[in-house]
């Protein structure tokens, strides 16, 4: 039991250090620039303690659960040798983790409001809700597709930068044709799709695949899945804005 407890205490200390810069920034600006008393000091202290404890538990859980399951599944699929099932799994993982993502739901709601204001859709609740749902499904589909492309790349050993650079070109091209109102949201949607649970799982999947496939290097080929998952939503959201 002692090594686990020691690790927990060390992690608790590390989490505290991770949080210190935020606290410092907030305090310094509050005292030196804004010069107003901090409201609700009690909540601030209690909240900070919760954040530290939460971060500590999260990192422990990463190493116990998320990393091992991602890697063992990657190994199992590699041993099984069925590319089709692996790709179906990759798509489901990308789609399932994105469609319920709270940040995406928030962004989709905002986008629907802007679309209604700009006269792209009717200004009724129903039209907005269906626009937002359509947008969420579009983004979830594009993330699923991104993980599929990323996994295929690891299997085949395609160089990452060609794919990413063509993705960038796709974004630039779409920007020229997409309605102006959607561009900001499209760019932001690339950043919000990858949640705290998805990132470790997908990273472990990529690294696990790259280690178990012969001729692949974990460092060169294992990373890059997240990059795809933040690229494709931008292209698909702009396409959604153009066609709806």
């Amino acid at each position: 039991m002692t090594p686990i407890r020691n690790r927990f205490i060390r992690q608790l200390f590390a989490s505290t250090l991770d949080l210190l810069p935020i606290i410092a920034v907030v305090l310094i600006f509050q005292i030196l620039v804004v010069r107003q008393p901090i409201p609700d000091v009690l909540n601030l202290v209690a909240g900070t303690l919760l954040v530290i404890l939460g971060l500590t538990l999260f990192v422990q859980g990463l190493e116990l659960g998320l990393f091992p399951i991602g890697e063992t599944m990657a190994h199992a699929f590699a041993r099984k040798g069925s590319v089709l099932w692996l790709l179906i799994f990759a798509f489901s993982l990308g789609f399932a983790t994105t469609v319920a993502e709270p940040a995406l739901i928030a962004v989709a709601g905002e986008a629907a409001k802007i679309a209604a204001q700009g006269g792209m859709i009717e200004a009724s609740d129903e039209a907005r809700a269906s626009y937002a749902l359509g947008l969420r499904l579009t983004v979830a589909f594009s993330v699923g597709l991104a993980i599929v492309i990323g996994v295929l790349r690891i299997i085949r050993g395609w160089p990452l930068h060609y794919l990413i650079i063509s993705g960038y070109c796709g974004i630039v091209l779409m920007t020229l044709f997409a309605p102006e109102e959607i561009i900001g949201i499209a760019y932001d949607s690339g950043g919000v799709t990858t949640s705290t649970i998805t990132v470790p799982l997908v990273t472990a999947l990529g690294v696990g695949l790259a280690t178990s496939i012969k001729g692949r290097n974990a460092m060169v080929d294992g990373f890059g899945l997240i990059a795809f998952a933040s690229l494709t939503p931008m292209i698909f959201v702009m396409a959604y804005g153009m066609f709806i």
Partner: protein, 260 residues
């Protein structure tokens, strides 16, 4: 304080976030792989830790940092604080120096505490056998986010087009990619996507919307977005740049050693 109720709500929201993932994993494990999971108890314990960890983390942020951060974003962008006379249609960009500084510091600090980035950094250190330091990577990414968000707030104040910055950023990334060591490219691209999640997004969004609704001539609907895009682009440049500098220095040290 009604926070036991709020805590339960956050817990359920996190659970709802985890369930589709758990269902996908268990479904494929049973139907396709058809082998028992190794160490099922440990994995389950790990998932429970993650669930409780994220719940406490989010709840703590909601209690402490988000209200304060949003309040500060409001106070710093308040026209009375900036000292812009009423009725001015164009704000001088240099009236907002404190805002840029705040944007840079809060971007740096929140990225350093971002759980997804911590996860990727741990993995990268493990895979590279220690050649990449987890903390070094996180610092490089944080510097990138910090610069990106500061530039993003400058863009909102001046009202220049978002896509110009992004396209120039892409061109820089492409040029750097040509010269960067191959081993770092995947990690650098990934670090762009992981920087913006739980901690950074709400604070940065509040700052962007606060700015866009107070700077004369800006429309929060159109100009409030885009900060996240900056925060995902500049870390790539920072990480690629960091490795290029590291490589260049080690090469110079090596060649200096030869000539002696």
């Amino acid at each position: 304080m009604a926070w036991p109720g709020e805590l339960a709500a956050t817990f359920i929201a996190t659970l709802r976030d985890i369930l589709p993932i758990a269902a996908t994993i268990i479904g494929f494990q049973i139907l396709v792989i058809r082998k028992p999971i190794v160490h099922p108890k440990r994995i389950l314990a790990g998932f429970v830790y993650v669930l409780i960890g994220i719940t406490l983390f989010l709840e703590g942020l909601k209690m402490a940092l988000f209200p304060l951060g949003e309040l500060m974003a409001q106070q710093l962008t308040d026209p009375a604080f900036i000292q812009i006379a009423e009725g001015v249609s164009v704000a001088p960009w240099n009236a907002y120096l404190w805002v840029y500084l705040f944007a840079a510091s809060i971007g740096f600090a929140t990225t350093l505490a971002e759980p997804s980035l911590i996860a990727v950094a741990i993995k990268a250190e493990e895979i590279s056998g220690g050649a990449i330091h987890a903390l070094g990577l996180r610092l490089a990414v944080s510097i990138g986010v910090s610069f990106g968000i500061a530039l993003g707030t400058y863009r909102i104040v001046t009202g220049t087009e978002l896509y110009l910055y992004i396209i120039v950023g892409y061109v820089v990334v492409i040029i750097q990619t040509v010269f960067a060591p191959k081993m770092i490219i995947g990690l650098a691209y990934d670090s762009g996507g992981v920087t913006t999640s739980t901690v950074t997004v709400p604070l940065v969004t509040a700052l962007g919307l606060g700015l866009a609704s107070t700077v004369p001539g800006r429309n929060p609907m159109l100009d409030g977005f885009g900060l996240i895009a900056f925060a995902s682009l500049f870390p790539i440049i920072a990480v690629l740049g960091y490795t290029q500098i590291a490589e260049w220095r080690s090469r110079r040290a090596r060649s200096a050693g030869k000539t002696e």
